[in-house]
């Protein structure tokens, strides 16, 4: 057995039995992930043993504690310098603990926490048979409209499983951007995808759409991950290893020990290019870049709105994190191959998302397309291939995720007898009915539109600046144009809310519990703080801008 092959956590099992040495795991440095996973498992146990009545509270409690702890852990690690000086590769090369990883993990955990608040909201839906209910199906297994469902509702069941599912998803997302070899990447991908598939199917109302969303998401997601896996296979074939560092070396040709036996496959660029492309495609699917975006509108619309919000925010963060690491650590040597391609993707993503959004009539779909457009903007930063690029993307993601969750949280408030009133026509005159909610939503829209003094502007500026510095001026110009187009439909919504007369049978605005208020409040706060005084967070992002190799 050639020594170099024996470097990975997974292959230690291949060692002769006689001298088995336990793999060396830096639990402390993996603590954020481990905490969340542990909480998720506890959640499962709660589902198993805690009586139904108190499950909800137990779950919420555990999840909140876990996420807070996880965040604390992240902060501690960062403060300990793991983001900068002590950055290194932990878990025998499986997971990187470095600036980007920690920054993104922190973002994801916070986004998860805020998402959790919206998950736990039980004031919006009218009280069903004396028990408060959240926006998830009473009993996912029961057929919509069937007696069993009615019974479940009558019994006041709620799907408290969403909390462990959420935690599992978060844990996957925590690993995803930190994964330092392709297998970990793949496993993490599945770990956070599978719970999301399920969560999509769990809407309390409009269950048909919810299930359809789940099916679409699942099938397409699985399809995409198949591509990813094949890509991984090819890269493995190319480099003879799945470790980022190793592949990078081979790509750069700096690999020292070429086993003659491998000469025939190793360094075969076709494998590298095809594999890389397929792998990138899998990630582009997750961030919802054109032409891999088509699941986004449907899933965003069908999924329960809290899930949509969480998905839209956290998935993007995790996926972009992974994409960054992949492109900056594994394939930098290939820059000249993938940059033009990514240029094209970024351009069509920006324009496509913005243009199609113009004619949307459902607020959730509208936000979906806007998220596509934003994916395009972020890609522009990814392409910069510079430290600035990385930090600008990190900053953008941080700002964006909170705006998104906040926006979707507001969507959950606007309701009519059929549940959430997501059709735009229903939003007419909202500004007259409840100026505060409308104003808050307007703030989010303006942030999306990138109006100065909001996080959206700061992020957009940072990203475009990095892109321009990287010589991608045309990309910036197109980005500017598409943000102009995008501005059009954000403004359309504002016009609708403030300048058109409210309809008599218009929707009501539910008064949420402090949970959702907190979620929205955090959204607004982050939006304004990052907009007016972004320096501190830019510094953070800058320090976090370096990947460990």
């Amino acid at each position: 057995m050639s020594a170099p092959a024996v470097h990975s956590l997974w292959t230690t099992a291949a060692e002769p039995i006689s001298k088995i040495d336990a793999p060396k795991i830096e639990y402390g440095q993996l603590s954020p992930t481990l905490i969340v996973v542990g909480a998720a498992l506890i959640g499962v146990l709660i589902e198993a043993f805690v009586p139904r009545k108190s499950r909800y509270y137990a779950q919420v409690f555990v999840s909140v504690v876990a996420l807070c702890a996880a965040f604390a852990a992240v902060v501690a690690l960062a403060a300990d310098g793991y983001g900068t000086t002590k950055a290194h590769i932990a878990a025998m090369g499986a997971i990187a603990v470095d600036g980007p990883a920690l920054f993104l993990q922190g973002t994801i955990v916070l986004a998860g926490l805020v998402g959790l608040f919206t998950f736990a909201e039980r004031r919006l839906d009218p009280v069903a048979h004396g028990s408060r209910v959240d926006s998830f199906a009473a009993q996912a297994a029961s057929v919509p409209g069937s007696d069993s469902e009615k019974a479940a509702v009558k019994a006041g069941f709620t799907t408290t499983e969403v909390f462990p599912l959420l935690l599992f998803a978060i844990s996957g997302m925590l690993i995803f951007p930190a994964a330092n070899d392709l297998l970990t990447l793949f496993v993490a991908l599945e770990v956070f995808s599978l719970p999301l598939y399920l969560l999509c199917a769990l809407a309390r109302r409009k269950r048909l759409m919810s299930q359809e969303a789940a099916v679409k998401y699942f099938l397409l997601g699985a399809f995409a991950s198949a591509f990813t896996l094949f890509g991984i296979a090819l890269l493995y074939g190319y480099a003879g290893s799945v470790s980022y560092a190793r592949i990078a070396q081979v790509v750069d040709g700096t690999v020292t020990d070429v086993d003659p036996a491998l000469a025939n496959t190793m360094g075969n660029d076709a494998l590298l290019l095809i594999g890389g492309a397929m792998l990138v495609m899998g990630l582009l699917f997750k961030v919802g870049a054109v032409p891999f975006h088509m699941w986004t509108p449907d899933v965003y619309q069908g999924a329960p709105t809290p899930v949509t919000g969480f998905m839209a925010a956290a998935t993007k963060v995790a996926a972009f994190g992974a994409l960054l690491r992949l492109l900056y650590v594994v394939l930098p040597g290939l820059r000249w191959d993938w940059r033009p391609v990514m240029w094209a993707v970024a351009i069509i993503t920006m324009l496509g998302g913005a243009i199609v959004a113009i004619t949307q009539t459902d607020i959730k779909r509208l936000l979906a397309y806007s998220s596509i457009a934003h994916a395009g903007f972020i890609l522009a930063g990814v392409i910069a291939t510079s430290k600035d690029g990385v930090s600008s993307v990190l900053f953008y993601l941080a700002g964006y995720s909170f705006v998104t969750i906040g926006a979707f949280a507001v969507v959950t408030l606007v309701r009519d007898p059929g549940g959430e009133a997501t059709h735009l026509s229903k939003w007419a005159g909202l500004g007259r009915r409840s100026p505060l909610v409308a104003a808050v939503f307007a703030v989010f829209l303006l942030a999306f539109a990138g109006i100065p003094l909001t996080s959206g502007f700061a992020g957009k500026f940072a990203v475009f600046k990095a892109a321009a510095d990287g010589g991608a001026v045309p990309l910036v110009v197109i980005g500017v144009i598409s943000s102009a187009i995008a501005a059009f439909f954000y403004i359309r919504v504002i016009v609708l809310m403030f300048f058109s007369e409210p309809k008599p049978e218009g929707p009501t605005v539910a008064v949420p519990s402090p949970l959702t208020m907190l979620a929205i409040g955090m959204g607004v706060a982050v939006t304004l703080v990052l907009g007016v005084a972004p320096q501190y967070f830019l510094d953070l992002a800058n320090q976090a801008g370096v990947f460990v190799r």
């Binding site: 099916v215 660029d269 095809i274 054109v290 032409p291 891999f292 088509m294 993938w338 391609v341 993707v345």
Partner: protein
């Protein structure tokens, strides 16, 4: 002493401010305030005049610097007044005649409930006019220039509820604006040429400037003069201006404002002297206008319009004279002054007649009024004799001098201009005699008159306030109106003689304008003789047509020329067709363009994106498998592109 110049302007300005801001509470005393202040300014004028006379000719220029108005880079405009013989002459004319007409208006506007405002406007006019003639630089002159334009706008449109009045006012202002354009361009040219537009620097350096520049400046000044003085081609507004109350016509549109053009040209004499082409243009304009106005004057049945025509023509004489250069400057001003007397007198007379005739202005409805309003008849008659140049009266001296000067221009030009002037004299005699006869002689056509024909000109609707539309009972006007008429009559009788005996006026003005005797091909006596002949012919024809046989109460169709003259030689029709209609079409089409083209492009882009979006979203057909297809295709493309990148 020069510190008295500012008060000269300030007095009427104060009057205007008080009367216009003061509001209703001043209604009872307003007119007296106005009259008082204008008289005050006249008194200041007299004091200054006395002071000037005290000095010897070279030192008769007073300047008063108040403050620096605009100063940017080399662009320096001061509020400085300059009182020399030329402006002094105007000051006296303006304030003198002005005060008289204020007095007259007290009676004339007695029954108008907005009399206070009328006097406010009159004072405003005086102030602006004084500013115009006292300014020491062209920009300040420009202020007065547009100021009088504003005042005339307000006064022509004084009876604003009459659409015709409002339109006439607007027209006057617009036509004047065209002239003002000329003045402002002239000022800019001066600035680029001399780096200044103050009288001193400009007029003393004309020698160093290129003749092209000077000609351009001259022509622009001429354009300005045409606008203000109703010279062809910008004369069209004067006739309509008669919509204003008669005192206004007398003061602004006969005696003072309309002569501002002449002042401008004479004042800028240095420029014109150095730009013969511009000078020629001036003379041509003058000659054409004096004939134009005279011809128009012959055909009008509206007494004021007839007088307006004559004003136009008389100013034509002045412009002609001014165009002749040093030969003519003095006489231009002299005629200007005498004309100020007799034309103002004539207008006041006309006003008095209308006053007694229920504001009837159609001379065909007058006749035989001499026995009803003797004072008016006598004063009007003296003015008449003066204007036709009856020997001994003021018009005789001033006009005769101009005709001489025209011949003295020499060469064919001289003959043409002189001839035109002579012809003009004849026509003047004709139409003035016509007016005289139709108004004061013949049978009394206003008795048992039929219901007035609709197209007959109807004037001052102050009638509404002032008595019924039954058969008029002609009567003499009150003292407050007749006294000014008498004074003016005296002026128009003796003015000319006073000025000419011993060339008083010449010596007075020469230091400013300079003077030179042209070499006339004809002796002075010959010219005078010719003038006399023309005069007699004109009177004779008029008497033959209007004195001997009765005047039809409804205007006969008349010859082609007559009809043309009635319509101001179709000048208005031309304006209407070319400028008004054309302008309307232009603006309408531009509005269309702005809406469909410029705006259309924008809305079109928006619509375009909308359509594109509508098409693209159809791809989102809801079928998971087609999504998969796009993913698969995307993946294929991605791979292909990557490989391609490596290949190239």
């Amino acid at each position: 002493m020069e510190n008295l110049i500012a008060p000269l302007i300030a007095a009427p300005l104060l009057g205007a401010a008080v009367l216009l801001v003061g509001g209703r509470r001043l209604d009872r005393v307003g007119h007296w305030i106005g009259t008082l202040l204008s008289t005050a300014s006249f008194v200041f004028g007299l004091i200054l005049f006395a002071d000037l006379l005290g000095k010897n000719a070279e030192h008769r220029t007073l300047t008063q610097h108040l403050w620096t108005w605009i100063s940017v880079g080399g662009f320096q405009a001061d509020v400085t007044f300059r009182l020399d013989q030329l402006s002094m002459t105007f000051v006296l004319l303006i304030t003198g005649v002005g005060s008289l007409i204020h007095l007259y208006s007290v009676g004339y506007m007695e029954h108008d409930e907005r009399r206070r405002r009328f006097f406010g406007y009159l004072n405003l006019f005086l102030a602006a006019m004084l500013l115009l003639v006292l300014a020491d630089n062209y920009l300040l002159l420009y202020v007065g220039w547009e100021g009088v334009g504003l005042a005339s706008y307000l006064l022509i449109g004084f009876w604003q509820h009459k659409p015709s009045a409002a339109t006439a006012a607007k027209k006057a202002f617009l036509v004047n604006r065209v002239g003002d354009m000329g003045l402002s361009i002239a000022i800019m040219l001066m600035f680029t040429t001399f780096g200044s537009f103050a009288f001193g620097p400009v007029l003393s350096h004309t020698g160093d400037a290129s003749e092209g520049k000077l000609t351009a400046i001259g022509l622009m000044l001429l354009l300005a003069a045409c606008g203000k003085s109703a010279q062809v081609p910008l004369q069209s507004w004067l006739g309509d201006a008669m919509e204003g109350p008669t005192p206004v016509s007398a003061l602004i549109h006969a005696a003072t404002m309309v002569t501002a053009g002449v002042y401008l040209i004479v004042r800028s004499g240095a420029v014109f002297n150095a730009a013969p082409d511009a000078q020629l243009a001036v003379t041509v304009v003058g000659a054409v206008t004096l004939l134009f106005g005279a011809i128009v004057g012959c055909a009008k049945d509206d007494i004021k319009k007839a007088l307006a025509g004559s004003t136009m023509s008389q100013i034509g004489y002045m412009v002609l004279a001014a165009g002749l250069g040093p030969i003519g400057y003095v006489f231009a001003i002299m005629h200007l002054v005498t004309h100020g007397f007799f034309k103002a007198g004539l207008f006041l007379g006309a006003g008095s007649v209308m006053h007694g005739m229920n504001d009837e202005v159609d001379m065909r409805r007058y006749g035989g009024l001499r026995k009803y309003m003797p004072v008016t008849f006598i004063t009007f008659g003296l003015g008449y004799l003066a204007i036709i140049g009856f020997p001994g009266l003021s018009g005789f001296f001033s006009k005769d001098k101009i005709i001489e000067a025209a011949f003295a221009k020499g060469g064919t030009e001289g003959w043409i201009l002189g001839g035109a002037a002579l012809l003009g004299a004849a026509i003047t005699a004709f139409y003035m005699t016509r007016v005289m006869l139709m108004t004061f002689f013949g049978e009394e056509r206003w008795k048992n008159q039929p219901t007035r024909s609709p197209e007959a000109p109807s004037a001052e609707p102050a009638a509404e306030t002032r008595g019924e539309h039954s058969e008029p009972h002609p009567h003499e006007s009150p003292k407050v109106m007749t006294i000014p008429m008498i004074v003016l009559a005296v002026g128009s009788v003796f003015g000319g003689a006073f000025f000419s005996i011993g060339d008083r006026f010449l010596h007075w003005l020469e230091p400013v304008t300079g003077h030179s005797e042209g070499d006339s091909p004809l002796s002075a006596t010959a010219v005078t003789g010719a003038t006399m002949v023309c005069l007699v012919i004109g009177v004779a024809i008029a008497w033959a047509r209007y004195g001997r046989k009765p005047v039809p109460a409804v205007a006969p169709r008349g010859s082609l020329l007559t009809r043309a003259a009635r319509r101001d030689l179709f000048q208005d029709d031309f304006n209407h067709v070319v400028l008004v209609r054309g302008g309307e079409h232009l603006t309408r089409s531009l509005v269309y363009v702005d809406h469909t083209l410029v705006d259309g492009v924008v809305n079109g882009t928006a619509a375009g994106f909308g359509g594109l979006s509508g098409r693209l979203r159809r791809l989102q057909n809801g079928f998971a498998r087609s999504y998969a297809v796009s993913m698969f295709g995307g993946a294929a493309l991605l791979v292909a592109a990557t490989l391609l990148m490596r290949a190239v």
